[in-house]
């Protein structure tokens, strides 16, 4: 781990070596693209969180006379949608739904997938074969198709979106967790721990998990942007969040017909999805580089 000896960090170089996580944090702090992405995400998350207080209007209150006001209209900075509802308000509220629908499946996959993958990787044998072959079956479907098929069968609604997207992401995390576990398990220090009498629990908790969580975390972070695009995509198809709720994919869908009247306003929800997903991608790229993990 070559830390460049800049005057500022002389202490770190001369004195005790920095801990792994401090090194990672230090590298992240020196990566402008990652910092910008993190700032953008913080802004998006904050505005979604504070939507009820920030939004100038009621998200479901519209007026037929004010339909499709252009961007920059008086009293409606970002215009209005096809029912005359304020776009800025709905974009703020929509971010909540999109973020929840996009982040939850990856979180679920991270927890469930890590548990299953570490279990399969550590125990090995028949358990491993059973778990991994079952996961392989889900790889028979491209992610988009699997999500749409499950959502299509279950019907629309946020809970079903979360279920179908979790089913998409769990097998992916399991694969990464399993292969990381198998790799770490064969290292000498695990054998040493076992020789010194550590139980399975202690080994997994204290020795194994600390070394596999990094790669799994980085992998999970690369999946967030896909999850957000898919979650909004399901709503876009009418399979996700149901109207009149505000959600970026759904807004894009209902505004699609209006591109001949006003082209800019219908493009806004998609732009929001794009910016969010790009920020997550840049953040996960930065995290991967900082943690020196090769994906």
């Amino acid at each position: 781990m070559a830390v460049t000896a800049l005057p500022r960090d002389l202490d770190a170089v001369v004195g005790a070596p920095m801990s792994y996580w401090r090194t990672v944090a230090w590298r992240l702090g020196r990566d402008p693209a990652t910092l910008v992405a993190a700032a953008v995400l913080a802004l998006i998350a904050l505005s979604a969180l504070l939507a009820p207080w920030l939004a100038p209007y009621d998200p479901s209150a519209g007026s037929i006379r004010l339909r499709l006001a252009p961007v920059g209209a008086p009293a409606h900075v970002l215009g209005t949608d096809e029912q005359g509802r304020d776009m800025l308000t709905r974009l703020l509220w929509g971010g909540r739904m999109t973020l929840v629908a996009g982040l939850t499946p990856v979180l679920v996959a991270f927890v469930v997938g890590t548990a299953l993958g570490v279990l399969a990787g550590y125990i090995g044998g028949l358990t491993n074969t059973l778990v991994m072959r079952t996961m392989d079956i889900f790889y028979a479907f491209p992610a988009v198709l699997l999500a749409i098929a499950i959502s299509g069968a279950l019907g629309p609604g946020l809970p079903n979106t979360l279920i179908s997207l979790s089913i998409v992401f769990v097998p992916r995390v399991v694969r990464v967790a399993e292969s990381a576990t198998v790799q770490v398990k064969s290292l000498e220090y695990i054998a040493a721990a076992r020789a010194s009498g550590a139980g399975v629990r202690a080994i997994v908790r204290h020795h194994l998990l600390a070394n596999v969580l990094g790669p799994i975390l980085v992998f999970a972070s690369t999946q967030v942007s896909l999850s957000i695009i898919l979650a909004a995509g399901l709503s876009f198809l009418g399979l996700g969040v149901t109207p009149p709720a505000a959600e970026w994919g759904l807004m894009l869908n209902t505004l699609r017909q209006s591109i001949y009247v006003n082209a800019l306003v219908p493009a806004l929800p998609g732009l929001a999805i794009f910016i969010t997903s790009m920020a997550f991608n840049l953040l996960s790229d930065g995290l991967r580089d900082a943690m020196e993990i090769r994906a």
Binding site: A140, P142, L145, G152, I229, G233, S277, M278
Partner: protein, 312 residues
């Protein structure tokens, strides 16, 4: 080598069977009655039983599954509840349209992605490299359905150059190309981003190996070094190309919905909203089978290009 081929073939069969179980279960775990769509709201109990019997929904699930699998194995995917046409016919027609779109978008993404990736690797750190990286991040981050709408706004609404939706009604290559242009570009964005990234890193891996330094040291011109690098990076590039082509087939649902392109995605979308279960099952099963076989082909092709892989 042949042992590996045999093993790999044997592994595809349980995967396909598993996929068929998922497709079957998906529909039967779903809420609501699968035959509700064909029956009038005020259907009598006898009528309901009769229709259930006609579709075989009165048998226990495992029996239904085996019967269904037996029929599927002979190419019979059942009849559409909405149109009463054989599902296999609908799937065949739409699959042809989807294949064309997947091929055209893959071709575009492959050519551009490989060129950009190699260019970026050979100009590492310079502005070409940076531009390619930015383009790659945009490619993997953009919601492609939104990109499709933006393309429609620019090329159909503002410039009025290309049609916004559907496949060509009139025969003729020109009209066909005009209709397929926008969906092709929209669908090519994600693979373009992925391929650029993978090609760049694969080429850089090779460039950083000592043999390249040796080649340069003995005075080989850059053009010849280039061939060596491409040859050595080929297996990795090939894998990503194969995978991306598969994703194009199953992943076009959203783009097909945006452009009303009459492919499998469009059919799937229609089936979902009409709750046409046989069509839903048929489309997904055929696409999954296609995807599994494609992955198999990529694996085998990879071993052919680089026999060392079979030993792992």
């Amino acid at each position: 080598m042949w042992g590996y081929v045999g093993r790999r073939l044997a592994l595809a069969i349980p995967t396909l069977l598993g996929a068929s179980v998922i497709v079957f279960a998906m529909v039967h775990l779903a809420p609501g009655d699968p035959i509700a769509a064909v029956l009038p709201v005020d259907a009598s109990k006898e009528q309901v039983e009769l229709v259930k019997k006609a579709y075989g929904f009165d048998k226990p699930l495992p029996v239904q599954y085996l019967k269904w699998l037996g029929r599927v194995a002979t190419g019979d995917l059942g009849k559409s509840i909405a149109t009463r046409r054989a599902v296999i016919l609908d799937v065949r027609d739409s699959l042809a349209n989807s294949l064309v779109l997947a091929l055209s978008s893959s071709l575009l993404a492959f050519m551009l992605g490989i060129a950009l990736g190699l260019l970026a690797a050979f100009c590492q750190g310079r502005w070409v490299d940076k531009a390619a990286s930015v383009l790659a991040v945009i490619g993997v981050s953009v919601p492609h359905y939104w990109a499709g709408i933006i393309l429609i706004i620019v090329f159909s609404v503002w410039l009025n150059w290309l049609p916004a939706m559907g496949a060509a009604n009139d025969p003729g290559l020109r009209e066909y190309l005009r209709h397929i242009a926008l969906p092709t570009v929209a669908l090519a964005l994600i693979p373009l981003g992925v391929i650029t990234r993978v090609v760049r890193s694969a080429a850089l891996d090779v460039l950083n190996q000592e043999f390249v330094l040796a080649l340069r040291a003995k005075g080989l011109v850059s053009r010849r070094v280039f061939t060596h690098v491409v040859k050595n990076a080929a297996p990795q590039i090939l894998t990503v190309l194969g995978l991306q082509f598969g994703f194009q087939l199953g992943g076009s649902v959203l783009v097909e919905a945006v452009f009303s392109w009459p492919g499998t995605g469009y059919l799937l979308n229609l089936a979902i909203f009409q709750r046409d279960i046989p069509v839903l099952q048929g489309v997904i099963l055929v696409l999954a089978a296609f995807f599994v076989l494609l992955n198999l082909a990529v694996d085998l092709l990879q071993t052919l290009v680089d026999p060392r892989i079979a030993r792992h």
